[in-house]
Symmetry: C2
Subunit: 235 residues, 2 copies
C-alpha cells in the first residue's frame, strides 16, 4: 500500500479520517506508524496528499488530511480486451489501474468461454476492489471506467468506431503482421484478444472498424504479459 | 500448454515418446486428441516439431516424434533482478522463459527480505518447473540459466562488469532519471530492484559497474509489471 485511499464519506464532520479496517492493520504492521507520523493518502477520485496521525491503536487510527496534490495523469490509452479467465482478469484489473490506463472495455469473442461472464469478479464492487489495489500500488486516486460488452457485433459496429476516431488503433494479433509500434504521441486504442486469438471474422470486423493489426513477435504470450509488455512498448 | 515438452530420457529405445502424467491429461481433456492426430512437441533444450498419436487412453499416450524445427531465438537480454517475494518469483520465472530472456541473475539487496532466500521456489527442480511452464506457453525448448547471488558486493564487483561489457546496461530505478530507451539493437542487460528500490549505495555500485540509471515514469509498478513492461519496451 503506497497510498492509503479513502472515500469522501469516510471523513467525519470535523474533516478527520478514521480507519479501522485492513488499512489500519497495514499502518501498524507494515509501516509501524505512530502519533505524529504522516501517511500518504488520497481521496478516491479526488486529490492526494498526506494524513497526520493524531491517534492510533489496534482499534482505530485518526488522521488529519492535507490534500494538496493532483493525482498523476492517466495514460492516453483505451484498452479493449476479450474477457479473460477470472484469475487473469483480477490481475489485469489491478494492472490497468496501476499503469493508469484511461478506460477498459471487456468484450466478448467466440473464444471467450461463456462461463467467464458469470464470474463474481465482474461484480462492480469486486472490480472496484481490484482497481483500488492497483491505484494504491502506483499512487493514483482515479478509478478508470470499466465497461462490459457481452455481444461482440454491437460493440464493434456501434461503439468501437467512435472510440477509434482520432486515435492510433491497434489490434495485437499473432501472425505475420507489422510489428507493434514503439510509441504513441496521440491517443491509442489497443485491442487484445482471448487465449487462442480472435477468429478471422472478428479480426475482419475489428479492422473494418478502423483497427490496424500488428504483431507482438513470434512468441505466444499469456494475456496479462501481452498487455503489460504492450503498455511498456507504447507508452 | 501450447507445446508438449519432454526430456530425451523419456524416449524409448524405439524412439517413441510415452506420456502418462499431467501432459496426458491435457492431451485428453483440453486438446481432445485421438489416434492419428498430431501434437506440437519439443525436446527440452533441443528441437521442436510434432508427435503423431499412435495410441492414447486414460493410462498412457504413445507419440511418434518428428523434430524438424529449431526453437525460437532468445532475446539478447540478460535480466538482473533483486530477489522478489516467492509468489512474484514464480510468476517472473514463468515470464522470463515465456519472453525468451537469455539469462536471469537473482541478486541480493538490503531491501530483499532474508527469508526470501529460504523459499522452496529456489530449489533447482522448482525453478525448472516454472521455467518449463513459460516455455510451454511461448513454444520454446531452451531453459534459460538462472543464477542466485546471495551477496550483493561480490556480484557487482566481480561478476557484473563482465556481463555489462559490450551491452547496453540499464538500471530501472524510481526517480528523476532519463526515460528508459525504447529499443535495443545490441545486447541489453537490465537491472530491476526490489520493492522499495535499491538503496543509494547499491545504485552507486551498479552505476560504477557500468549501468546507466533510467526511469520508468512517475508510477511505482509491481516488480512483475515493471519487468514485463520493460521487456515490451526494449524488445
Amino acid at each position: 500500500m503506497n497510498l492509503l485511499l479513502f472515500s469522501r464519506s469516510e471523513l467525519g464532520s470535523d474533516g478527520l479520517l478514521s480507519v479501522d479496517d485492513g488499512r489500519l492493520q497495514h499502518l501498524l504492521e507494515v509501516h509501524g506508524k505512530e502519533v505524529g507520523d504522516t501517511v500518504r493518502i488520497g481521496e478516491i477520485n479526488g486529490r492526494m496528499g498526506h494524513g497526520k496521525v493524531l491517534s492510533i491503536n489496534t482499534e482505530v487510527a485518526v488522521l488529519e488530511p492535507t490534500l494538496d496534490q493532483l493525482p498523476p495523469a492517466k495514460l492516453p490509452l483505451i484498452l479493449v480486451l476479450a474477457l479473460p479467465r477470472p484469475k487473469m482478469l483480477r490481475r489485469i484489473l489491478r494492472a490497468v489501474a496501476e499503469f493508469g490506463v484511461a478506460e477498459l472495455h471487456l468484450i466478448n469473442s467466440l473464444r471467450v468461454e461463456k462461463s467467464f461472464w458469470q464470474t463474481p469478479v465482474l461484480d462492480p464492487d469486486t472490480i472496484r476492489e481490484y482497481l483500488l489495489q492497483g491505484l494504491e500500488q502506483s499512487r493514483d486516486t482515479v478509478l478508470p471506467p470499466v465497461s462490459c460488452h457481452r455481444r461482440f457485433k454491437p460493440f464493434v459496429e456501434d461503439l468501437l468506431p467512435d472510440l477509434v476516431r482520432g486515435r492510433q488503433s491497434l489490434l495485437a494479433h499473432p501472425g505475420n503482421y507489422p510489428p507493434c509500434p514503439r510509441s504513441t504521441d496521440s491517443g491509442t486504442l489497443l485491442v487484445v484478444g482471448p487465449e487462442g486469438g480472435f477468429i478471422p471474422y472478428e479480426v475482419a470486423k475489428l479492422e473494418a472498424a478502423g483497427c490496424k493489426t500488428v504483431s507482438l513477435g513470434p512468441r505466444i504470450l499469456r494475456v496479462e504479459n501481452a498487455v503489460t509488455s504492450l503498455l511498456g512498448r507504447l507508452l
